[in-house]
Symmetry: C2
Subunit: 292 residues, 2 copies
């Protein structure tokens, strides 16, 4: 299949490479960075999104944020200008659920299909074709694109209609961020009270306090290994999506707001490139005590 | 072995029964409530803690809170008055880690041993002898009491010295409370954004957002089944321990404080007897939207 891929960065680069390995022809924007590894596999370079959309049947986006998706789709010489009836747009970026519904409606008006399909699993998941993919759209389009998703990910779910994939990703990032915060408060409390945090973590695994985060991120806090993993500045972007959409939806997310402030405090120290488990550094600084 | 058991309530009643079933002689305070089931198994009724301590080698406490433990141990005709060299006091109540260290020191001064051994697993865990037991004390005393613990629980860990068992329990309750809050914020966000929360929960299980709480309490929020389980008013007591001890230890627990306020808000509506997953009712009330 001829597939357009806009956004061949840290995540998009290896994702596009898996598509070529799967036997597809991949068209990218030659005016943006195209990784050497991808060029060597053989990609077709176009001048802009319009040309890519003219040449291909399926157009995948993997760009940083909501305004980037809007620009790539609806800007001058954007994807929308090159679309014709029956083509499919798949946005795998992590962006706003509310705006996603609008983008999908505008693509549908061109007699084209839209899937929002954000991922979790980070750079390692992208490289190993092991991403979790949360999809919003109709069943038929999902079924059509599923073989393409399977080249990039493992745990692939159709959550609901357009926007629901992005909503699911935001829900994921809320739970992950707040569970990191919870484990940070608990281990800091244990350590400051004089207990061995490694022993406490061990005793809590297997009970109701157990989680993937206590297992992985709890260990990082104890071992002081804050190399990413998933960077604080990316999680800040995701919690910003949560809080901005919550405002639009008129709901209150008090602990998401606090978690974001703790990320901001770590970033203020120049540590926004650390793994998100380093959120605990802000709690530690307030207490003038490090987990040990 | 002759075992004293002070506090034969909802939890302590079945725990003491397991000790009798295990072949031990159990001495209780006849001036407090002794469940009929326990009387039928055959308990020895004493007049106070002093008499119980005089008659037995090992004295177990299972009472509501820190002041109750202090009264039972050091009040008039309390356990301390009946202790003599080599006896063991085991406090299985969930109380303050800081005060526990003081209680242990005062018992040690009488040439007796002390273990703090709070549990999790609730009434069901007590009835099924399936409690998780988090122990603080020395290795030798732990080894001596282990066969007794094994009659009441399954996952039994010596976390560290005196107080560390209680510290571990507080850490457990922080993580459980804050993970419930996290799942509540995420599912409410998903529902208000128009996604199916059951589908979202399903998509998130297996990834980094997965936890025992997402599995069990997330399902309760979606199915609106708030029968306890573990009651809000008990979790309020535990988060109060966390916050009061954090103040003494000079650390800040911002999301524990918010979770406690949300419990308070649910209790203010008269719902403090519901399961702790009903914390989500406070978030729902703020948003004027129920998860569905």
């Amino acid at each position: 299949m001829k597939i357009g891929f806009l956004g061949t960065g840290i995540m998009g680069g290896p994702m596009a490479a898996h598509l070529i390995d799967g036997g597809h022809e991949v068209y990218v924007d030659g005016n943006h960075h195209v990784p050497k590894a991808l060029k060597e596999k053989g990609v077709y370079e176009c001048n802009n999104g319009r040309e890519i959309a003219e040449q291909t049947e399926l157009i995948i986006l993997m760009v940083p944020d909501t305004p980037d998706v809007e620009l790539v789709l609806f800007g001058e010489n954007g994807v929308a200008e090159g679309l014709s009836k029956g083509k499919i747009v798949v946005d795998m970026s992590s962006i706003s659920p509310v705006e996603t519904k609008d983008f999908a409606a505008r693509i549908n008006e061109l007699d084209c299909k839209y899937l929002d399909a954000p991922v979790s699993g980070g750079q390692v998941g992208a490289e190993n074709a092991a991403l979790t993919i949360m999809v919003g759209g109709d069943q038929q389009t999902f079924d059509t694109v599923l073989p393409i998703f399977e080249l990039m990910g493992k745990n692939i779910t159709l959550v609901g209609g357009n926007g629901d994939g992005q909503t699911c990703k935001v829900a994921n990032q809320i739970i992950v961020g707040l569970t990191i915060e919870a484990v940070g408060e608990a281990l800091l409390f244990a350590s400051k009270a004089g207990a061995n945090p490694a022993k406490v973590r061990e005793a809590l695994m297997g009970g109701f306090a157990s989680s993937k985060i206590l297992e992985v991120h709890g260990e990082r806090m104890i071992n002081r290994t804050f190399a990413p993993g998933f960077r604080i500045n990316l999680h800040q972007k995701d919690l910003n999506l949560a809080l901005a959409n919550a405002r639009k939806l008129q709901i209150s997310l008090p602990n998401t707001a606090t978690a974001q402030e703790l990320f901001n405090a770590v970033a203020a120290q120049g540590d926004e490139e650390l793994d998100h488990s380093a959120m605990v550094l802000a709690l530690e600084k307030l207490a003038e005590h490090k987990i040990k």
